[in-house]
């Protein structure tokens, strides 16, 4: 496959105090190819070559062909100024292919395979986070065409950023301030509040709590938080890895049972930054943002959200949590047993 010319740079927005990544080559990326030309399927004997040269695999991770961040970025296309600097986009973009099965989804994977996927996320975080130019490793999945998915084969992505991205930076700052003010962990305190209240709990088990957060922005937003204070996936115990696999599967299967459709979502794995700073207050968690508010209606980021950054949720978290709680599966520990 020919190498795509790469233009990857970061431009500083002094108004918002954040970087915008420019990656023009991504305009050319493969868009919803038919299954027989899927670049994430294994290369079958006699078949067209794909990104994966082997005829079979369990889980594969490769450098994104259309990266927004890369270890050896070309010089920026423009010259910045003191007010608006521009930098090469150092970092990495990787694709995680969950399974060779083209027609599978995360929700269809067995618990044991999701435990393996967690191991891969953890290991890639260690590998990428150890690089000097990487400050934060972010694993995520975009599911469904409504989210902008361009390939249907089950996969996720990992971005290794040269700075802590805005959302994680804001979380880190607020967690540190909370720790300085109270001596406690922000997420541990939220967990205690949610467990005591109970109305927004969606699932619990294996050291993990899934809730529609009190402050949910999306109707069926769910956060998975470890009950023990850890910052990275590789710090989990065997029980907690199994617990995360089960609670994660419980949530995505509940999503599919919600409207009897394969619910689109963004899954964001938030781990402690790897920049070497004092980030002990940061607590590992996973966030899901499905765009649907009904089976056929989506929530869009419109005026207030996109223009002012102020989210409006059309639903009550207590009610959407109750709805999700009612949908199967009901017990993460029994996932392998439920018929």
């Amino acid at each position: 496959m020919p190498r795509i010319p790469i233009v990857s740079e970061r431009r500083w927005n002094p108004v918002l105090g954040e970087w915008t990544m420019t990656a023009t080559h991504r305009q050319d990326r493969t868009f919803l190819p038919p299954a027989e030309y899927c670049p994430l399927c294994p290369t079958r004997p006699g078949g067209a070559p794909t990104e994966i040269g082997r005829p079979d695999f369990q889980i594969a991770v490769f450098d994104n062909r259309f990266p927004s961040l890369r270890p050896d970025p070309a010089p920026p296309a423009v010259t910045g100024t003191e007010l608006t600097p521009v930098e090469p986009s150092f970092g990495a973009c990787e694709v995680v292919v969950y399974t060779p099965r083209h027609d599978a989804t995360l929700a269809m994977l067995p618990v044991a395979h999701v435990r393996r996927l967690i191991a891969v996320w953890a290991h890639r975080t260690l590998v990428l986070g150890a690089r000097d130019e990487v400050a934060s490793v972010f694993a995520f999945e975009n599911k469904g065409e409504q989210i902008g998915v361009t390939l249907h084969h089950p996969h996720g992505q990992i971005y290794a950023y040269p700075t802590i991205p805005p959302v994680l930076e804001r979380e880190t700052r607020n967690a540190t301030a909370h720790a300085e003010r109270t001596g406690g962990c922000l997420w541990c305190d939220l967990n205690r509040q949610e467990i005591d209240d109970g109305r927004r709990v969606v699932a619990r088990g294996g050291g993990w709590l899934a809730t529609v957060p009190f402050f949910a922005r999306w109707p069926y937003e769910v956060h998975l938080t470890s009950e023990r204070h850890v910052g990275w996936l590789h710090e989990l115990t065997q029980t907690e890895v199994d617990g995360l696999a089960r609670v994660l599967l419980t949530v995505v299967r509940k999503y599919n049972a919600l409207f009897d459709i394969e619910l689109p979502y963004i899954m964001a794995i938030h781990q402690r930054p790897t920049d070497g700073g004092d980030r002990d207050a940061y607590h590992l968690h996973v966030e899901f943002y499905p765009p649907n508010r009904t089976a056929t209606k989506l929530k869009y980021l419109a005026g207030s959200e996109a223009g002012a950054g102020a989210f409006i949720n059309d639903t009550l978290p207590e009610e959407t949590a109750a709805t999700l709680r009612d949908r199967p599966p009901h017990d993460p520990a029994a996932l392998d047993l439920e018929a």
Partner: protein, 64 residues
């Protein structure tokens, strides 16, 4: 954070033993194949209808 060790990653015990084989793709990019010796566990752990179908398909195709 601990240093990564690709062949014997930290935390391997809690994630189960796995192997990472890294290859260079034709255009110079890198691909990492993660493999577990206990492949039967993937199908054997299946339980709900989706899992059962996946396990059957996996057994048929010798894939996960």
């Amino acid at each position: 954070m601990p240093d990564p060790q690709q062949e014997t990653p930290p935390g391997a015990a809690m994630f189960g033993e796995f192997r990472v084989e890294t290859e260079t793709m034709p255009d110079g990019r890198r691909i990492h194949y993660y493999a577990w010796p206990d492949d039967t566990e993937t199908a054997a752990s299946a339980g709900d209808p989706a899992d059962v179908q996946a396990a059957h398909d996996a057994a048929d195709s010798d894939r996960v």
